[in-house]
Amino acid sequence: MNSKSKNGKKSALGQLLIPLTALAILLLFNLIRDPNFFAIKVAVNNDGNSVLSGNLITIIDNASALAIIAMGMTLVTAACGGQDISVGAVGAIAGSFFVKVLKSGEEITAGSVILGVLVCILAAVAFMMFNGTLVAVFRIQPMIATLILFSCGRSIAYWITGSATPQLNSPIIRAMGMTIPGIPIPTPIFAVVLVGIILSLVFRFTNLRLYTQSVGINQGAARLNGINPTVIKLLSFVLLGVCVAVASMIGVCRMAQLSHKTLLVDVEMDAILAVAIGGNNLGGGKFRIAGSIMGAYIIQMLTTTLYAMNVATVNVKAYKAIVIIVIVVAGSPVIKSKIAALSNKMKSGRQLSTAKGVR
């Protein structure tokens, strides 16, 4: 019994080994480079609230939207064996609906915000259902199916709000995007925690994980065991929709304005990368949400580190690419099996030497 659970834990650790190591190396690197990099100070913001500030807080805060989308992307990847590249564009649409509702009244009130949140989630889910239908019912490859909204999503967002860049001046919006008065931690961080908890509750109280993995690994066999693959795939897109909606609201509230051109721009590639860095198979099947979340923080920490090193904005992406090559190659099956063989050898070597010692 004991050895069984130990084995299970071991394999879980195995998948998270690469992202954990990458994270540790990045932390260590920053610590050596600048011992004050992780210093956390209490500062007073424009609204007069005392808030925590420092690179670490910035990293965790700025990675929020990415981390949330990466969670949803993990599910779609696992169930469909492909990725949704329209998350940024759908985020822009959802954000536009959110702002449209907020701007419809004279003033932004708690009521209009609640309505806005609901409409935003509904819109994102509806557009994701469109993607999901193409993938699950019409069996179009996810990347092709989501290419449609990827190309036209930001135009749709533009039609909703018009050309203007609406500003949202309200303490509620600031509380949602920055910090709630009296709480020194940025609100988006709580959003990540909340989405994470909700998802883990869903895994705890439903068979979502088992069904999703079964469909992702062997759709035909899953069907013969009474699982409806179409429904499971659609469900993964619905959940991704919810994640995209939350991420888009974080983006809108943080800037206190909407720009359909820049809201969540390029987030799709980072999200896919986060899923991959997390050790998840992009071909579907077994998955680990924690890995993807870690992947998101690694990507953000990399960006922040590079900026802190005064790397010019145009060069950041190139440096990022180099580090990512290393992480992805380190996590590749070839290197993994080499490492496993090496550790096996070391183990048997150790056994030999202890045996000799006894003699």
Binding site: N207, N218, A221, R223, G226, N228
Partner: protein
């Protein structure tokens, strides 16, 4: 009885093989984490012989083949190949090919969308210009000389499986292979195709090729082989000329049992006479893949669909389970009318279905043994009622013990188990749901003799002790005669006869299949 085997030392001293030996493997060791897959195994292949490599699942046949073809690296021992000076070091399939070891796998590894000629020459011209015209000419010559009924320009996917297999062999032969490994080449062929393949094998044998033949079909071994090497639990049992080892003794050696233990091979249990109560009844049931048919099964009855490959027996049971799109018919389960249009409906009605193609339709390879066992029951409990980890572990434990499934732990991915054990896992999955009616489509295909027997015994036990109704399909008629009390014979997607009681003999089944009854 055993031939004297030239030891590794002697081989090293003489630095070359005996005249007629093309391949000698000595003291081969192979370890995998936690298990020793091969333990000092010797194997000798002579020129122009068909050498059957036998053993149950997990005996080490595949591992030995993979060591030889460079898929796995050996941990100890040495290999000598004719024409290679000193020991042969094989680190990759390419290196194996280069020294004349060719393999044709069970699953055809050619490209169906290319032509026959393209398949035969692809990847073989190292950096030279390709002259397809010449290749086509040469391909036609080889195909003709081997008697393979295919043309060079034909798309491979349009050929039958047997011909595809023969093209794969032709490719190997043209590469001047000395050692040809055929891994379960006949498992998806019908009798006529098997004969075609055997003809080709004999032809190659006369040309001096050494053939290693891996199969589960005992009769086929005796039909073509000259020699048998038996492995058990990763160790060599012995090498025998075919005439020295009768079939029963071969089975005994593979299983490591005495002949007495095998007395029950013939009578694995008493057949059950069916009860009165109708469990499942279909009228004019049809699906996208099957023509309308009537079918009935009683409580505690074991019946079976028989017929040639493609006669529609699998399609019929798929229609019953709702695996294909059901297009019509009235179905009653225990006297109540039910509508079964998808597998979930059938499961709710108390029907279980073990599919024909274990890899494609049965296992969820990356999931653990535990998850694979509880899957169907979990789905029946519903999306919002996950079982607790403890509950799952108890169920899995119970069935791993009951069916003696060999696995390192519950958490082992089912894909890493041997075929027979994978089949047991799927069987466990359905037994756990306690179905009233269980459909087993080819449960014994591609698994070892011992497990085959276990499964047949289990079928009879379930019918007698738990009153379960079972439909049992097997391409080995003996198995069906042993277990079924009623056989439904199919030909060209139609039911052409029903045999019970005294009619249940091999002769009458064959006759009905062939159409002699009408």
């Amino acid at each position: 009885m055993e031939n004297r085997v030239v030891s590794a030392k002697e081989l090293k001293a003489s630095k070359q093989l005996d005249k007629d030996v093309v391949l000698a493997m000595r003291g081969i060791d192979k370890r995998f984490p936690g298990t020793k897959a091969l333990n000092k195994v010797d194997f000798t292949l002579r020129k122009g012989e068909i050498h059957a490599l036998m053993g149950e699942n997990g005996a080490g046949k595949s591992t030995l083949i993979k060591v030889l073809t460079g898929v796995h690296e050996k941990d100890g021992g040495s290999i000598w190949v004719e024409g290679v000076e000193g020991e042969a070091h094989i680190h990759s399939p390419q290196e194996a090919q280069d020294i004349g070891i060719a393999t044709v796998y069970q699953e055809i590894t050619l490209c169906p969308n290319l032509t026959v000629a393209e398949n035969m020459f692809i990847g073989r011209n190292k950096g030279q210009m390709v002259h397809w015209k010449d290749y086509e000419k040469r391909a036609n010559e080889i195909l003709k000389s081997l008697g393979v009924p295919a043309r060079a320009k034909q798309e491979l996917g349009n050929c039958s499986l047997a011909v595809q297999q023969m093209v794969a062999i032709a490719r190997a032969v043209d590469m001047n292979c000395k050692v040809l490994i055929l891994d379960e080449p006949t498992s998806s062929l019908d009798d006529k195709e098997v004969q075609m393949l055997f003809g080709l094998m004999r032809d190659l044998k006369s040309r001096g090729v050494g053939i290693i033949f891996v199969t589960h079909f005992l009769e086929q071994v005796y039909e073509v082989s000259d020699r048998i090497t038996v492995l058990r639990n990763g160790e060599l049992v012995g090498e025998y000329p075919i005439s020295d080892l009768p079939q029963v003794e071969l089975v005994a050696r593979m299983m490591g049992k005495n002949l007495d233990d095998l007395a029950d091979l013939e009578e694995i249990g008493q057949k059950k006479t069916a009860g009165e109560k109708v469990v499942y009844q279909a009228k004019d049931l049809s699906s996208s893949e099957s023509k309308p048919f009537d079918f009935v099964i009683h409580e505690g009855e074991v019946n079976g669909f028989t017929g040639l490959l493609g006669s529609g027996r699998s399609e019929s049971v798929r229609a019953i389970f709702g695996a294909d799109r059901v297009t019509g018919g009235d179905v009653q389960v225990k006297g109540k009318k039910v509508n079964i249009t998808k597998p979930h409906d059938a499961m709710k009605a108390g029907i279980g279905y073990l599919p024909e193609d274990r890899k494609r339709d049965g296992i969820i390879a990356d999931l653990s043994v535990r998850e694979n066992i509880i899957l169907a029951l979990q789905v029946m409990k519903g999306f919002f009622h996950p079982m607790s980890k403890k509950e799952m572990e108890e169920f899995a434990d119970e069935y791993i013990k009951a069916l003696s499934i060999k696995t390192a732990s519950q958490e082992t991915p089912v894909g890493s188990l041997s075929g027979g054990n994978q089949q047991k896992v799927i069987l466990a999955r359905w037994l756990l749901t306690h179905p009233d009616y269980l459909i087993l489509d080819e449960p014994t295909r591609g698994i070892d003799v011992g497990t085959k027997l276990e499964i047949q015994k289990l079928v009879l036990k379930l019918a007698t002790e738990e009153n379960m109704s079972i439909t049992f399909i097997s391409s080995e008629i003996e198995e069906m005669l042993r277990t079924c009390s009623r056989l439904i014979v199919m030909r060209d997607r139609n039911i052409v006869g029903e045999l019970t009681g005294d009619q249940l003999t091999q002769a009458s089944v064959m006759k009905t299949i062939a159409g002699g009854e009408r």
